[in-house]
């Protein structure tokens, strides 16, 4: 059971990959199958069930792409 949920506004992601480096459960990857409106491969989550809702990804994101929710 996931403890948290992250939502990415993929259209404003600049593909810098910083979020992928700070995720403690390593579930963020760059989606190489998609190109967003800005022309970048956006970040995405592979296995949301593993998310712990720590907000590390959102804390380091320079473009405020990520919203984090935590289950009570």
């Amino acid at each position: 059971m996931a403890k948290g949920k992250v939502t990415f506004k993929e259209d404003i992601c600049k593909g810098c990959e910083l979020c992928t480096t700070v995720c403690p459960v390593k579930i963020i990857t760059m989606d190489r199958s998609k190109i967003n409106a800005k022309g970048y491969n956006p970040a995405t989550v592979t296995d949301m069930d593993k998310c712990i809702g720590c907000a590390n990804c959102a804390t380091i994101c320079p473009d405020v792409v990520i919203t984090v929710e935590r289950f009570k």
Binding site: G4, K5, I12, K14, G15, C16, E17, L18, T20, T21, V22, Y40, G53, A55, N56, A58, T59, I60, C61, P62, D63, V64, I66, T67, V68, E69, R70, F71, K72
Partner: protein, 248 residues
Amino acid sequence: MTIVFERTKGLTDVETHYCPGCTHGIIHRLVGEAMVELGVLEKAIGVAPVGCSVFAYNYFNCDMHEAAHGRAPAVATGIKRVHPDKFVFTYQGDGDLASIGTAEIVHAAHRGEKISTIFVNNAIYGMTGGQMAPTTLVGQKATTAPGGRSEEHSGRPIRMSEMLATIHGAKFVERVAVNTPANIRKAKKAIIECFKVQLEGKGFGIVEVLSTCPTNWGMTAPEAMKWLEDNMIPYYPLGNFRRPEEAE
């Protein structure tokens, strides 16, 4: 479900023009969050610099003013003296504050102006294409120092926080970094403490934020964060240099 992280009201909905991985975006957000948490957004007036963050007035959700290169502390002085009840901050880079604007920042601190400064130090001139700045590290390559900065030719990089901490009017001086989530959280605490020094009428405050420039450093964003940690933090040590109670 509880939302634990969302876009702060301290920022507008405008997407920034910054390069991918540029830490200006993180620092903008911290300043916006700090203003919201202190409840000063409605009475805040920011002064934007010249440099990469020249368009900062589009991104902060408060009244903003643009200043000539390096002159943000002088403009902020005027605003604060006319509107002493407002919250006034400057947002400046190292090419702005540590080079052409050295006189303005030193004398704003020396007069003890009740303003707050966010000083973003990425050790290079970003907007103009990666020239050597006063803060560029010895050996670091720049377009005007293709073999790396030479100490014999250009001296060692200037440590602004240490210098400003010797000035009596500077009541809060701290250096932070935004290379890891833990350091980003510490940076936000420092910014809030710095803003409080102004709100309590104690005097001048500055937070120096070690930042990256992946584009002009020629690195990916994660590599730039590592470079900051390995090269900048040893020369620019993190920590507080001055609090109001220590200033006497």
